[in-house]
Symmetry: D2
C-alpha cells in the first residue's frame, strides 16, 4: 500500500530496492540499454514477417499538445526558401533549378520522445550515483547525453495494450494507475507473443492519445492522465527491460498517487534503474494491427536524434512486423 503522505520515503525505499547503480561499472552511461545486446537484436529480427512498417511518432507541428507548461511550446517550423519564391523566379539560381529549405525551433521533449538518463535527478544525484550538477550544466549533459545511445535502440518491442485489455472501449480514464496486476493481466490476455523479458522495449498503450485525437488536445501535455503506478517500480526493475514507452505525456499516472508529489516514478526509474522512458508515442495503428493478427511483438528501431548533450530527444520510432 502507498502511504500517500510520504512520497520521499516511498521513493527512497523503491530506489534502494531497484537500484542498478554500479551494475555495469562506475563509468556506465547506457543504463538498461545494456540489456539490449547484439544477441537480443539478432533474435528479434525473426519478428519481421510481413514487412509492414508503422511509425509510432506523432507529427511535429504547431497543432501539437503543448500549452506552454514549463516553457514547452509546440515546434515552430519556418521556411528559408519556398516553392512560391522559386515559381516567382526570385531565387537567382541558374538553369531553372529552385529550392526550398526549412528551420525548426522546438523543445526536445515537445512531442514523441525519449527521456535520456540526464532528464531526472533524485536529491541532486543522477544515474549511477553521479552529482547532477556535474552531469547537466547549461552546456547540456556532458556524461549521459542522448547521443550515447544513438546506435543501440533497435530490437524486440512488445505492445501491452492495457487500454484494450482493461479499459472501456479501448481507453483508460485519467487518474487510472496501471499496476503490475494490470500489466500481467494484459500479457496473459494477449498471449505468448506478449511475454516480456530482458532487453525488450515495452510499449504501453493507455488509449489517452486516441482520446486526445477525438476530443482535442486539452490538457494532454501536463494534465491528468492514465499511466504507470508508482508501485510498478519493482516490475520495471525485475523484468530487465531496456526501455518502456507510453502514449501519454508523462509515462506515470496523473495525478500522482501521493498527496503532494511530482512524477515520483521518474525519480526511481531514471536515476536509479537507469531506465529509458518514451513519452507521447502513437501506438494506435500498431495496436490495431496487433489486435487483428494476435501478434503483439515486433521489430522496433527507435533511434533518437543524436543532439549532443541532450537530456531528451525527439524520435520517430518505426516498428516492423
Amino acid at each position: 500500500m502507498i502511504d500517500r503522505s510520504d512520497p520521499e520515503g516511498a521513493v527512497a525505499e523503491a530506489a534502494r530496492r531497484c537500484s542498478n547503480w554500479g551494475r555495469w561499472g562506475a563509468g556506465d552511461v547506457r543504463g538498461t540499454m545494456n540489456f539490449l545486446t547484439d544477441d537480443k537484436r539478432a533474435a528479434a529480427a525473426a519478428l519481421i514477417r510481413r514487412g509492414r512498417s508503422f511509425s509510432l511518432s506523432q507529427r511535429f507541428d504547431m497543432d501539437g499538445p503543448q500549452r506552454g507548461w514549463r516553457r514547452r511550446t509546440n515546434p515552430v517550423h519556418t521556411m528559408l526558401d519556398t516553392g512560391t519564391d522559386a515559381a516567382a523566379g526570385v531565387q537567382g539560381f541558374p538553369h531553372g533549378i529552385g529550392g526550398a529549405d526549412d528551420v525548426i525551433a522546438m523543445p526536445l521533449q515537445c512531442s514523441t520522445q525519449w527521456d535520456g538518463l540526464g532528464h531526472i535527478f533524485d536529491h541532486g544525484v543522477a544515474w549511477n550515483g553521479r552529482p547532477a550538477g556535474e552531469v547537466v550544466t547549461s552546456l547540456g549533459d556532458a556524461v549521459t547525453g542522448i547521443e550515447t545511445v544513438a546506435d543501440v535502440i533497435a530490437g524486440r518491442a512488445v505492445l501491452l495494450d492495457v487500454g484494450r485489455a482493461i479499459g472501456e472501449r479501448g481507453e483508460l480514464p485519467d487518474g487510472f494507475a496501471i499496476t503490475e496486476q494490470h500489466l500481467r493481466a494484459t500479457i496473459e490476455r494477449q498471449g505468448a507473443s506478449a511475454a516480456v523479458g530482458r532487453g525488450d522495449i515495452v510499449l504501453v498503450r493507455t488509449g489517452r492519445l486516441a482520446r486526445a485525437r477525438r476530443e482535442g488536445w486539452g490538457d494532454y501535455a501536463g494534465g491528468d492522465s492514465p499511466g504507470l503506478s508508482f508501485t510498478t517500480a519493482g516490475w520495471l526493475h525485475r523484468t530487465e527491460i531496456a526501455a518502456i514507452a507510453t502514449d501519454t505525456w508523462g509515462f506515470e499516472v496523473r495525478p500522482n498517487e501521493f498527496d503532494d508529489a511530482f512524477q515520483p516514478l521518474h525519480q526511481v526509474a531514471i536515476p536509479h534503474i537507469g531506465l529509458f522512458l518514451g513519452e507521447m508515442w502513437d501506438l494506435d495503428e500498431l495496436a490495431a494491427d496487433c489486435a487483428a493478427d494476435g501478434v503483439w511483438d515486433c521489430w522496433l528501431t527507435a533511434a533518437p536524434l543524436p543532439v549532443t548533450g541532450a537530456v531528451g530527444a525527439p524520435v520517430n520510432p518505426v516498428a516492423v512486423k
Copy 2:
C-alpha cells in the same frame, strides 16, 4: 559526354529520359519509396545476423559543419532546466526530484538528413509535375512533406564504398565525379552482397567526412567535394532504388560538371525521378565493419523526424548487420 556550356539542356534531356511522373498515379507523394514494399522489407530482415547496430548519423551540435551558407547554422541547443539548478535546490519540486529539459533551434538540413520531394524544383515544377508554388509555401510543403514517408524508410541498404574501392587511402578528392563505371566497379569489387536492385537504399561512401574529421570542417558544408556525376541520372533511375545517401553535404560532385551550374543532378533526381537523397551521413564505422567481414548489405531504418510539411528532415539512420 557532358556539354559544359548547357546545363539547362542536359537537365531537360535527363529529365525526359528518367521521369517517373505518373508512374504511381497523379496523387503520388512517395516517389521512389514506392519501390520499398513490404515484401522487400520482409526479405531484408534476413540481413540481420550478428545483431550489431550502427548509427549513421553525425552528432547534432554547435561543432557541426555549417558556416552560414544560405542561412544554415549549426544546431543551437540550450537548457530549460539543469542539474546545477537541481543541485542548488532552486527548482521548487517536491520530495527531492529534480529535472533537466532542453530546446533546440536548427535548420532541418544542417546535419545528417533526408531531402524530401519538396526540396528541389525544375523550372517551378515539383515532383510528379505539380506547380512548386502550390506545393511549398511559407506554411511548408502541403503535399509531399517529409511526414508522408515517416513510416516506410526501413529495408535493405547496400554500402558502396567508392572511396575504398577507387580512391587513395579510402578517400576521393574534391571534384571527383563518381560515374556509373565507378559504381559498377565498386559493386564488382565488393562482391555479391553489394548487388543493387529495386527498393534498395544505396549508401555511397566517398571518404569526404573522414577527411573533414581529420582536417577540420573547413568547407565541408557548401564547398567542393567528391560526389555523384550528373551522368549517373540514368543509373539512379534504371536501378529503381528507393533512396541514396552519401557522406558529403550535397550528394553530387562539386564543382558541378558544367561551367555555370548549381546541383543539376538534384534537379533531375528529386522532381523527376522522385528520389530521396540523404546527405551528411556518417558511413565510416559501418564501412570498416563491411570491409572486415566482406558483407556490404544490411538492414537499415532511416526514419526522418516527421515535421509536418518539412522539405527535408534530420534523421538518425540505424543499420543492423
Copy 3:
C-alpha cells in the same frame, strides 16, 4: 455608412482617396515617417519637462498573449550559461569570473511591436505600388525592411485616451469601433496638448490591455477587441501623422465592420497611406500620468530592433515628459 457586404469595394475606395503613392518619390521606403522631420523632432524636445520616463512596452516572456494564432508563439528565452553554473564552479573561467548568457526565439510581432511597410499588401501590391512578390520573399523585405526606419522614430507623441474619455471606467468593450468623432471628442476633452498634427506619433488607448491584465490574456491576441473603425482611414491620411499605436493586438476594431473581412483598415493604412502601425503597446502608466497632470503630449523614442528585412519588429518605446 459602411456597406457590410463589400469590403473589397470599400478598401478600393478608401485606397483611392488616401493614397500617398509617389508623394515622396518612386524610391521611397519610409512612408509617413517622412512627416517626422528634424524640425518636428527639435520642436518636440520642449515636451521634456520633468524628465520622467515611461516604457510603453509589455514584457517579452512566456506569459505573453500568444496562443499559436498564425504560428505566433510567446518568446522562448533560454540560458546559455547561468549563475547556478557559475556558483557550482563548472564554467572553467580564470580568477573567479563567472557569467550568464541567453538566447531568444520569437515571432517579431509577438508583443509590443511596429508593423513595417512590408507587413500588409493590397491585391499583391505593397507600399508605393511595388509588387509584393518582389518586395518580401523568404529572404525578408528587401526594400522596406524595418531597418530603413531604425534611426528616425523619435519625436512628439500624443496620447488619445479614448478608453478614459468615452468608455466606462476607462475601458472600451470588444467590438467598439473608434470613429473620427470619438477621436475628435477625445482631443477636445483632453485639451490643447492633445492636438494632433503632421509628424506626430498618435497613441490610442482603448483600455483593452488593462482588461487583459485584470482578467487574463484570453483572446487578447487575435480575438475580439475595441479598435479603430475602418472609417478613420481619411483621418489617418489627412492628419499627416507619422505613426499610430494602440494597446490592442490588431489596431483596428474586431470583429471587423464587414460581414466577411480581415483587417481591412490595415489594407488601406499600410500599403496605401504608408503608415506605421504600433500594436500591443502598454499605455496605462503614461495615461495615468497624463490624466494627473493634464498634459497629453510627450517626447517619444520608439526605435525598432533593426532586424534586416523584417516586416515588423519588437520595440521598447520610451516616452519622456
Copy 4:
C-alpha cells in the same frame, strides 16, 4: 602598474575600492542607473537642437560578427508568410489582403546590446552582493533582469572618440588599452561638450567597427580588440556615470592585461560598480557629425528590449542632436 601574474588580486583590490554595494539599499536592482535621475533627463533635453537622429545599432542579420564563440550565432530571421505567397494567391485571406510575418532566433548578446547586471559574477556573487546561483538560474535573472531598467535609459550621452583623438586615421589597433589618461586627453581635446559627469552615458569609439566594416568581420566578435584598460575601474566608479558603451565586442582591451585572464574589468564593473556596459554599438555616423560640429554630447534613448529575466538585451540606441 598592473601585476600581470595576479588578476585575481587586482580584481579584489579594484572591487574593494570601487564597490557600490549597498549604496542604493540592499534591494537595489538598477545599479548606476540610479545616477540617471529625472533631473538629469530633463536637463539633457536641451541637447536636442537640430533634431537630427542617429541609430547607434548595427543591423541584426546573418551577416553579423558571430562565429560560434560560446554558442553565439548571428540572428536567424525567417518568414512565416511572404509577399511571394500573397502574390501567388495562396494565403486564403478575403478581399485581396495579403500579409507577411516573421520570426527570429538569436542570442541576446549577438549584436548591439546592453550587458545587464546579471551577466557577470565575481566568485559566485552578483551585483549588490547577492549569490549568483539565486539570481540567475535556468529560468533567467529573477532579480536584475534587463526589464528592471526598461524605462530609464534615456538622458545625456557623451561621445569620447578616442580613436579619432589618439589613434591613427581614427582607429586604435588591437590590444590598445585605453587608460584614464587617454580618456582625459580625449575630453580635453574635444572641449567643454565632452565633459563627463554623474548620470551620463559615455560612448567610447575606438574605430574597431570601422575597421571590421572595411576589412570584414574576422575575429571582431571574441577576438583581439582595442578597449578600456583594467586600470580605468576607478574612473568608471568615480565619475558616477550611468553606463558606458563601445564599438567593440567586449568593452575592455583584448588580450586582457594579465597573463591568464578573461575580461577582468567586467568582473569589477558589473557585480561591484553595478555599471551597465554596452557593446557592439555603431558610433561612426554620430562621431562624424560630432567632429563636424564640435558638439560631443547629445540626447540618447537606449531602451533594451525588455525580455523578462534577460542578462543582456539587444537595443537600438537612438541619439538626437
